[in-house]
């Protein structure tokens, strides 16, 4: 192998510089105002900064979650008993069971105290610990949205790279055109369309896939694995179709920025194949915005997709959140808010931690 990736080359250089005397002298370098130190502690400082930021954010979420959903109008007890034979004593019992008879500050301190010990309370409508409810639904959501995010990120990255590399060409225009069209399609509508065509079957198209749910019945063991995969096809297809445009466009735009770079001319001058120039030189440098986006999307994984989960009757967190909000089931919305926000914070943290590995210019 005769060539090295420019970013890899810089990483080696940085490695030397970080350990040597010239460390931190480069203009614009964020660590230039501090005394020279070895590379590893720099990363640790960076890590500590990001970690403490994440913890502060989580605490903020904890507090916001409590007050945010109390601003939402609606008396949970009145909403839950509307249309049912209820006596005043029953209403009082419900308020006492839910702790709504206590002053708000007591509710808040109780909530914080419990949350810090990992207890998210008991759902009003399901009479079940919130943590347990979330744990029941989380695997379904992670599976569906996780697979979709991985697939559409990969697809978007691949198509985006190709589009940018031959921008303006027919392929590029077709690619971006199709992606943008699908991006603007409402996911529940596309989902229903897929159900009608590929589940029920239209004309010569046989109904190959189930209309909803996560599993079809009498299967166990390995057959059940295939069964779940079978049920996943249409919802994943919907999410991928609607979602991949985002990654495609970001990748395309950032790669276009890199394409005028001198290092690409150099690489070509060395006689590298076009394919290699793209893959080894251009793409790694254009990757950061895409990576950010992938992590943001991974952060959204926990929240699932309310619309797609509803259309395909997927027993995930998205649907649960909708049910929780419509009461409002305060412990449940607070718990879900914590989980959704927490996932976002953690994924952002991971993205922050991954940047220095992808691009050594970050974090020093």
């Amino acid at each position: 192998m005769t060539t090295t990736n420019p970013s890899v080359a810089r990483a080696h250089e940085d490695g030397r510089r970080g350990g040597g005397r010239r460390g931190g002298r480069r203009p614009g370098d964020r660590s230039s105002s501090v005394p020279p130190y070895p590379r590893a502690p720099a990363y640790l400082t960076y890590l500590a900064g990001k970690l403490s930021g994440a913890v502060v954010s989580l605490l903020a979420v904890l507090v916001t979650g409590f007050f945010l959903f109390r601003i939402v109008p609606g008396d949970p007890v009145a909403a839950m008993t509307r249309g049912m034979p209820t006596s005043a004593e029953q209403l009082a019992t419900l308020r006492r069971q839910f702790g709504l008879d206590l002053p708000v500050w007591r509710q808040f301190t109780d909530y914080c105290g419990r949350a810090l010990t990992g207890d998210l309370g008991t759902s009003y409508q399901f009479r079940q610990p919130v943590g347990e409810l979330i744990a029941q639904r989380l695997p379904a959501t992670l599976l569906l949205t996780g697979v979709a995010v991985v697939l559409y990120s990969a697809l978007g990255l691949w198509l985006g790279t190709r589009s940018a590399w031959r921008h303006g060409g027919l392929g590029d225009r077709l690619n971006t055109g199709l992606a943008l069209t699908l991006w603007s399609v409402p996911s529940f509508w596309l989902g229903l369309l897929l159900i009608i065509v590929f589940s029920v079957g239209v004309g010569p198209v046989p109904g190959l896939f189930p209309t909803g749910g996560m599993s079809s019945g009498t299967t166990t063991g390995p057959a059940q694995v295939l069964d779940v995969a079978h049920h996943m096809v249409l919802p994943v297809l919907t999410l991928v179709a609607v979602g991949y445009a985002q990654t495609l466009l970001v990748t395309r735009a950032s790669l276009l920025d890199e394409m005028g770079g001198d290092y690409l001319v150099t690489a070509r001058a060395k006689g590298l194949r076009d394919d290699l120039v793209r893959r080894r030189h251009a793409v790694p440098n254009a990757l950061l915005p895409t990576v950010t986006m992938v992590f943001i999307n991974l952060g959204h994984v926990a929240a699932g997709s309310i619309l797609v989960e509803t259309v395909f009757s997927w027993p995930g967190l998205g649907g649960l959140f909708y049910q929780a909000l419509s009461v409002p089931d305060l412990p449940l919305v607070q718990g879900l808010f914590m989980v959704f926000a927490g996932a976002m914070i953690v994924m952002n943290l991971l993205a922050d931690l991954a940047y220095p590995l992808l691009d050594p210019r970050v974090g020093r």
Binding site: T2, A88, G146, P210, T211, T218, T219, D275, F312
Partner: protein
């Protein structure tokens, strides 16, 4: 170059494609199962992979048991709790009807009270003691006999433990004492007479199971399966928002159901449920929209059941919100307190148009409070009393009462205030919005302004009395006591900051006197006459204006269900009956199989496995890329 590049990038994609195809191909037999069943006998599944795979495990008996006539119903509402002491939602109470016996049941023909767990009942001359004879041939599914002590314990628990009174406490609020002098005699002593004693819709639970429950506020009855019951079905499996599975109770005293399994499968989207019905993945779908019903009319092997509903849709007029302590609150328009204004407004409402245009024919116009489905109690205003559609009479009525049109064509009261009203509407209900448009037009011609305020949460302004008019509707039970009670003075909130069980802050002494008489009247026909008088009084006061009774529109597959009992029998619904008649009576058609869409349990292992399968595919793809790269590197 270009060709090589695209050829190379195509390889991982190819690998992905191959793997995905393999995945789907492997799955094909089971997806064809539904079709196989459609024209074969029920033993088809024995040859299927899944059963074969589990042939060596004890699960094989379960798999075999599962074969047979499985009826799958599409449901959308989540179960709030499987504990009869907590459950309030229709899905949950429907399940309880199937799983537990109640003291009495309702005849599917005409809704009159018939024996359930109790075979006979009588009241004492002072109307305060009720004695029920408990049947001798009802046993719990664990083999123990169901006795009067089980019933007594159920009621006593609700009386002494507020948490156990969460769902049905209103039934026992008037109980003084409940005893079981012997295993087949239940005695209930009341504080004051209560006509609903033959309509106690309370599931009776087995004492020997439930006396171990420590905290009734969190016990959901969904951990220890099958659930011990004595109804026509036994709940064998439940997974939140995925399915509820019920098996026939072979020892049920009225006779076992004719199907082999009843599955409630969750469809959170109505259109997806309709697609499943078309395909035959489910046998029954409730709560259809007019568009869905129209599209299913032409579908093969599907019957649309457009049944008279048990709901009424009304316009409530704020009578001036008040509390029991006499304090008034809210901001209802004062002109609405004038009977002439209320009369004029509802003379200008064309109910027939609403039924035809808004409900597209899936409703019945009406003015009485109790829907005609409950024939014993249904009432219709006499011709002289009726506010039939007559916009000119409406205008004359307003003129006569002194509400003249001003230069701008607006009617104003004596105080100079314009007749501009607001109506509270449910943002999620398309009917409300559509009716609001018609009202704006009709009342606009009359010179009355109307603002339609559609909110996600109408409970808050409603409870504060901050409305002029509001869309109102209740689902009526065979016994009308509750829907009548919510218009009594006693239902008002104690103080303005409390919540009462009142519906619309109505407080009328004449009505209250009639209500008290019917509540103490044990003779069915005398009581029915009083209930009709109550409705007449409610109609005359003009604060509750019933517009229509929306139909219950549902559909089922005729190649799955050969015969089924509707309620009322002549023309009635299937889902949410007062009783277990529909699913207990359902006679399976020859084509009904074990179904495809019954939604079995998904273990964490399966989820991990499916994720693993996908990861494997991704790994294969990655491997293909790496392999290609290394070979490309070698070539360079």
């Amino acid at each position: 170059m270009v060709t090589t590049a695209s050829h190379r990038t195509a390889r991982p994609l190819l690998a992905l494609g191959v793997a995905a195809t393999a995945l789907i191909a492997a799955q094909l037999p089971s997806s064809d199962r539904a079709y196989a069943h459609a024209n074969a006998d029920t033993h088809t599944t024995t040859a299927m992979g899944p059963s074969a795979a589990s042939a060596l495990s004890p699960a094989v008996t379960t798999a075999d048991d599962r074969l047979g006539k499985v009826l799958t119903l599409a449901v959308s509402q989540s179960v709030d709790s499987l504990s009869p002491f907590l459950a309030q939602r229709l899905t949950s109470t429907t399940i309880h009807r199937l799983v537990y016996e109640y003291l009495t049941n309702y005849d599917p023909e005409d809704g009159r009270t018939i024996p359930g767990l109790a075979t006979a009942w009588k009241s004492s001359p002072d109307k305060l003691t009720w004695t029920y004879t408990i049947r001798e041939n009802s046993t719990w599914s664990d083999g123990k006999p169901a006795t009067a002590e089980d019933a007594a314990w159920t009621f006593r628990t609700m009386m002494t433990n507020p948490d156990a009174a969460t769902a049905n406490g209103s039934f026992t609020a008037n109980f003084r004492e409940v005893t079981a002098p012997d295993p087949h005699t239940l005695v209930i002593r009341l504080k004051k007479p209560q006509a609903t004693m033959v309509a106690l819709d309370v599931p009776i639970v087995p004492k020997h199971i439930w006396e171990k429950v420590r905290d009734f506020s969190t016990f959901n009855n969904d951990r220890s399966l099958p659930v011990v019951g004595n109804g026509p079905f036994i709940l064998t499996d439940y997974k939140v928002d995925q399915y509820v599975r019920l098996r026939p109770n072979k020892k049920f005293w009225r006779g076992a159901p004719k199907i082999d399994e009843l599955v409630l499968k969750y469809y959170k989207d109505g259109d997806a449920a309709v697609a499943a019905l078309r395909k035959g993945e489910v046998s029954f779908v409730p709560n259809l929209t007019p568009a869905q019903a129209a599209s299913l009319k032409s579908a093969p092997d599907v019957k649309v059941n457009d049944a008279p509903g048990r709901r009424f849709l009304a316009l409530a007029v704020n009578p001036g919100a008040r509390a029991r302590d006499g304090q008034r609150f809210g901001n209802g328009h004062p002109a609405l307190l004038d009977p002439a204004v209320r009369t004029a407004l509802f003379l200008a409402v064309d109910r027939a148009t609403l039924v035809e245009k808004v409900f597209q024919g899936h409703a019945v116009a009406g003015q009485g409070y109790i829907p005609p489905r409950f024939s014993r109690y249904a009432w219709h205003p006499a011709p002289a009393q009726e506010r039939a559609y007559d916009p000119e009479l409406a205008a004359r009525t307003l003129d006569a009462a002194g509400y003249r049109k001003n230069a701008a064509g607006k009617r104003t009261g004596k105080d100079g205030r314009a007749l501009d009203f607001r109506i509270l509407c449910h943002a999620t209900d398309p009917h409300d919005k559509a009716i609001g448009k018609y009202l704006q037009e009709w009342w606009g011609k009359l010179g009355v302004g109307l603002t339609v305020e559609c909110l996600d949460n109408i409970t808050d302004p409603w409870l504060k009395g901050d409305y002029d008019l509001a869309f109102d509707g209740w689902s009526v039970n065979p016994d009308p006591d509750f829907v009548l009670s919510i218009h009594t003075c006693g239902a008002l909130p104690a103080t303005p900051s409390d919540t009462g069980s009142t519906d619309n802050f109505i407080c009328d002494r004449t009505y209250d006197a009639l209500y008290a008489r019917q509540a103490a009247e044990y003779d069915p026909s005398a009581r029915a006459a009083l209930v009709k008088q109550l409705q007449s009084r409610l109609y005359d006061t003009g604060f509750m204006n019933v517009l229509a009774y929306p139909n219950a529109v549902e559909a089922y597959r005729t190649d799955h269900i050969a015969a089924i009992t509707t309620m009322p029998a002549a023309a009635g619904n299937l889902w949410g009956q007062d009783g277990y008649w529909s699913w207990w009576s359902a006679k399976p058609a020859a084509a009904l199989g074990s179904g495809d869409g019954s939604g079995d349990g998904v273990s964490t292992g399966a989820v991990l496995g499916a994720a693993g399968a996908v990861v494997l595919v991704a790994a294969l793809a990655a491997w293909a890329v790496v392999r290609r790269r290394s070979s490309a590197d070698d070539r360079e």
